[in-house]
C-alpha cells in the first residue's frame, strides 16, 4: 500500500473512532442527565403527594372510617392528576390487600412489581419500565393511615426523554456522515500533498538509477522532505562528479593504451616488414643495408619507448624519499653529461644558477633536467645555446630551461604533457622519441609539488619553467 493511502486510511480510522466515540459520550451524558432530572422531579412529586397525605392522616384518624379514607385519598389523587393532566402523569393507590383505590393509568398495571419488595415507610423506590412503546417511570412509597398500609405509585411517562435521545442520534448521524465526507476529501489532498514530494524524489532517483546522472529534484518546501531533497541533490552532485571523473580517467587510460599500442606496433610493423622483406626477396645490397638500418633504428625506438615507459610506471607506484638538496650543486654535477649530449648537436650549454635548498628526490630531478635539456637540444639549431637558469621569485624556486630553437606552435601547447603526444611526429621519431618525455616531467613535477609552465614562440625558442613552491616547506634563499 502506498504511503499516502496509509496516512489517509489511518487518519480516517482515527477520526471516525474519536469523533463517534466523543459524540456518543456527549449524547449519552446529556440523556442520562435529562433522565436523572426527570426522575428527581418525579421523586419530589411523589414526596409531595406523600407529605400531603401525611398532613391529612390526623384528620382521618379522627374519623377512622375506611370509606372516608378512600374518598379523601381518591379526591386528593384526582386533584393532583387534574393539576398535572398534560404531563403524562399517572397515579395508582392501592391498599394493603392490593385493592386498587385509585388508578388513572391508560395502561394495565404490571403484574410483577419488583419495586414493592422491601419497601418501608421512609423510602421511595423507583423503576423504569417499557410499557408498550412508552417508557414509564414508576415511583412507589408507603403511607400508613390508621394502621393500614397504602401504596402510592406515582408514574411518569419518560418517552420524550428517550425520543430526544433518538433524535440526537439521528442528528448526529447526519453530522457524522457530513464530517466524514469532508474529512475524507480534505485528508485525500493533504496526504497526497504530503507524499507528492516523496514521489518526486523517488522518480528522480529512478531516473538517476537509469544512468541519467545530471537529473536533480526540484526542492519546493523547507520541511524534512525538502531537506531530504536537497541532501539528495548534493549526493547526486557528488556521484555525478565522481562518475565524470572516472569517465575522464577511463578516457585518459584508453587514450594512453591506444597511443601505446600505436607506438608499439609502428616500429614492430617496420621491423617485421623489413626483416621479412630481406628474408623473402632476392639479395640487393642497397636494399639490404637500408632495411637493416630501419630495423636497427626501429629497434632503438622500441628500446627507448620501453625505458621511458618503465620510468613512467615506476613514478606511479613508488613512494619517494625526499631529502633536502642543493639544486645548484646538483646541476653542476650534471653539467658534463649535458655538455656531452649538447656536443653532438653543436649546441652550447650555459648554467646561470642561484643556490636553493629544496626537498628533492635526486634521481627524479636528474631525469627531469635530462628530459628537459634533451627536448631543448632536439629543438635547437646547430650553434645555438641552451640555458639552464635557477632563481628565486616571490618565494618560489624556479628552474628554467631556455632554448633558441624551433619553438612550439600554440595549438600543441596544451597537449604536450599528454603521454605519446608529439608536436612533430616525423622529427620526434627520427630522434628516437616516444612522446613520453614531458609526460614524465609532468609526473616528476607533481611529486615535487612543482608546476611546469611553458612559453614558446615558433622559430624563436621555448622556455620551460619548473616552479617549486616552497611555502610551508621552509625553503628560501640562503
Amino acid at each position: 500500500m502506498k504511503l499516502w493511502q496509509k496516512i489517509y486510511l489511518l487518519s480516517l480510522l482515527v477520526f471516525v473512532l474519536i469523533f463517534n466515540g466523543a459524540s456518543v459520550m456527549v449524547i449519552e451524558r446529556t440523556h442520562n442527565r435529562m433522565l436523572n432530572q426527570a426522575i428527581e422531579v418525579a421523586l419530589s412529586q411523589n414526596m409531595s403527594i406523600h407529605s400531603s397525605v401525611d398532613a391529612i392522616v390526623p384528620i382521618l384518624r379522627i374519623y377512622d372510617s375506611l370509606d372516608y379514607e378512600k374518598t379523601v385519598l381518591t379526591s386528593m389523587a384526582k386533584q393532583f392528576v387534574a393539576k398535572n393532566s398534560s404531563q403524562g402523569i399517572y397515579l395508582d393507590i392501592t391498599d394493603g390487600a392490593s385493592r386498587t383505590i385509585f388508578n388513572n393509568a391508560d395502561f394495565g398495571m404490571p403484574q410483577a412489581r419488583r419495586e414493592l419488595e422491601n419497601l418501608d415507610n421512609s423510602s421511595i423506590h423507583y423503576i423504569l419500565r417499557d410499557v408498550g412503546d412508552r417508557t414509564i417511570l414508576f415511583t412507589v412509597n408507603h403511607a400508613q393511615i390508621n394502621q393500614k398500609n397504602y401504596v402510592f405509585t406515582y408514574m411518569k411517562d419518560l418517552t420524550p426523554v428517550y425520543q430526544d435521545r433518538i433524535e440526537q442520534y439521528s442528528f448526529f448521524a447526519k453530522v457524522d456522515s457530513a464530517a466524514c465526507v469532508l474529512f475524507m476529501i480534505v485528508m485525500f489532498f493533504v496526504s497526497r500533498g504530503l507524499t507528492q514530494s516523496i514521489e518526486r524524489l523517488n522518480r528522480t532517483s529512478q531516473i538517476i538509477a537509469q544512468g541519467n546522472f545530471s537529473e536533480r529534484v526540484k526542492v519546493k518546501s523547507r520541511d524534512e522532505i525538502g531537506i531530504l531533497g536537497s541532501s539528495f541533490n548534493e549526493m547526486a552532485e557528488v556521484v555525478e562528479d565522481k562518475i565524470n571523473e572516472l569517465e575522464r580517467n577511463n578516457d585518459e587510460k584508453q587514450r594512453f593504451i591506444d597511443n601505446f599500442t600505436h607506438e608499439l606496433k609502428t616500429p614492430l610493423t617496420s621491423i617485421v616488414g623489413y626483416a621479412n622483406f630481406l628474408r623473402t626477396t632476392k639479395y640487393n645490397e642497397k636494399l639490404f643495408l637500408d632495411a637493416l638500418g630501419v630495423i636497427y633504428d626501429e629497434g632503438k625506438r622500441l628500446e627507448a619507448l620501453s625505458l621511458k615507459l618503465m620510468d613512467l610506471i615506476m613514478l606511479k607506484k613508488e613512494q619517494f624519499q625526499m631529502e633536502r638538496q642543493e639544486m645548484r650543486a646538483l646541476l653542476l654535477e650534471m653539467k658534463p653529461t649535458l655538455e656531452m649530449m649538447a656536443k653532438e648537436k653543436e649546441v652550447i650549454i650555459r648554467l646561470d644558477c642561484q643556490e636553493g635548498r629544496l626537498e628533492l628526490e635526486r634521481d627524479l630531478i636528474k631525469v627531469l633536467v635530462f628530459n628537459l635539456v634533451d627536448n631543448a637540444l632536439k629543438a635547437s639549431f646547430a650553434g645555438g645555446t641552451v640555458t639552464l637558469r635557477t632563481y628565486w621569485r616571490e618565494g618560489s624556486y624556479v628552474l628554467a630551461v631556455i632554448d633558441q630553437g624551433i619553438g612550439i606552435a600554440e595549438e600543441h601547447l596544451n597537449k604536450i604533457f599528454e603521454p605519446f603526444y608529439m608536436a612533430d611526429k616525423a622529427r620526434t621519431r627520427s630522434s628516437n622519441g616516444a612522446g613520453l618525455g614531458l609526460a614524465l616531467c609532468g609526473n616528476i613535477a607533481d611529486i615535487h609539488h612543482a608546476v611546469i609552465r611553458v612559453s614558446s614562440q615558433v622559430q624563436q625558442g621555448t622556455t620551460i619553467e619548473v616552479v617549486f613552491a616552497t611555502e610551508g616547506r621552509g625553503g628560501g634563499p640562503e
Partner: protein
C-alpha cells in the same frame, strides 16, 4: 596494365616497406604522409586502390574516408588499433577491408588482390616470360600451346605468379593451394614444384630458398 595504389601512411618506414613489397609484384605506388596531401593528390590522380592508415596527421583516416568515398576508389584500412569498434567503424564508413599492424606482406597482397577482384580490376591474363595464364579459362599456354597441368599445379603456379619475387614457405603454399584444413606433408609442395619446373621449363626461375621455401624470380 599495372594497377596504381595510393599509400597513405605517416610512418615513412612502413610506407616504404609497403611500397617495396607492392613494387615487387608490379603494382605502381604513390606515397603520401598525411591527410591533406592525400586529398590534394586524389584531386589530380586516379588510383585503383588506397591503403589508408587511421592515425595520420591533420585529417585522420576515418575523416579522410568520407572525403575519399565520392571517388569510388576501394580502400583498405591499415591500423595499429584492433578494437572491434574501430573495425566496425572503418567498414561502416565504406572501407573494403581492414588490416591490423603488424601484418605480413603476402597477407596484404592477398587482400589487395581480393578487393581488386571484387571491383573487377583484377588482370584476367597473367604473363611470366614465356608462360601465359588465362585465369578465366584456367589455361596455361607456352607459345600459344596449351600445357596440361593438374588443378593443384595450376593453383600453385598462380600463387607463385601473384607473389612474384617473394619467397613463400612450404606452409604458406599448403595453406594457399590446399587450403587451411589440409594437413599434408610439405613434401607434397616439393613434388608439385618439381613437376611445375619440368612442365613449364622454369628450372631457373623457381628458386629454392634455403630455410624458407620457393620463390619465382624474373
Amino acid at each position: 596494365m599495372t594497377k596504381k595504389i595510393l599509400i597513405i601512411e605517416d610512418d615513412i618506414h612502413i610506407s616504404k616497406i609497403i611500397k617495396m613489397n607492392l613494387n615487387l609484384v608490379n603494382y605502381d605506388t604513390t606515397e603520401v604522409y598525411d591527410g591533406l596531401a592525400a586529398i590534394e593528390i586524389l584531386k589530380r590522380e586516379k588510383f585503383d586502390l588506397i591503403l589508408l592508415d587511421v592515425m595520420i596527421p591533420h585529417l585522420d583516416g576515418f575523416e579522410l574516408m568520407e572525403r575519399i568515398k565520392p571517388y569510388g576508389t576501394p580502400v583498405i584500412f591499415l591500423t595499429a588499433k584492433n578494437s572491434v569498434y574501430d573495425k566496425v567503424n572503418g567498414l561502416k564508413l565504406g572501407a573494403d577491408d581492414y588490416m591490423v599492424k603488424p601484418f605480413e606482406a603476402i597477407e596484404l597482397l592477398a587482400r589487395i588482390e581480393t578487393v581488386l577482384r571484387r571491383y573487377g580490376k583484377e588482370e584476367r591474363m597473367m604473363e611470366f616470360q614465356h608462360v601465359q595464364v588465362d585465369l578465366d579459362k584456367r589455361e596455361v599456354l607456352i607459345q600459344m600451346e596449351p600445357v596440361e597441368l593438374t588443378p593443384k599445379e595450376y593453383d600453385l603456379l598462380v600463387v607463385l605468379l601473384k607473389n612474384k619475387n617473394i619467397a613463400l614457405t612450404r606452409e604458406q603454399f599448403l595453406d594457399k593451394v590446399w587450403g587451411g584444413d589440409y594437413y599434408g606433408e610439405t613434401r607434397t609442395v616439393d613434388m608439385h614444384i618439381k613437376s611445375l619446373r619440368k612442365k613449364l621449363n622454369l628450372q631457373d626461375q623457381i628458386k629454392t630458398i634455403y630455410k624458407i621455401g620457393y620463390r619465382l624470380e624474373d
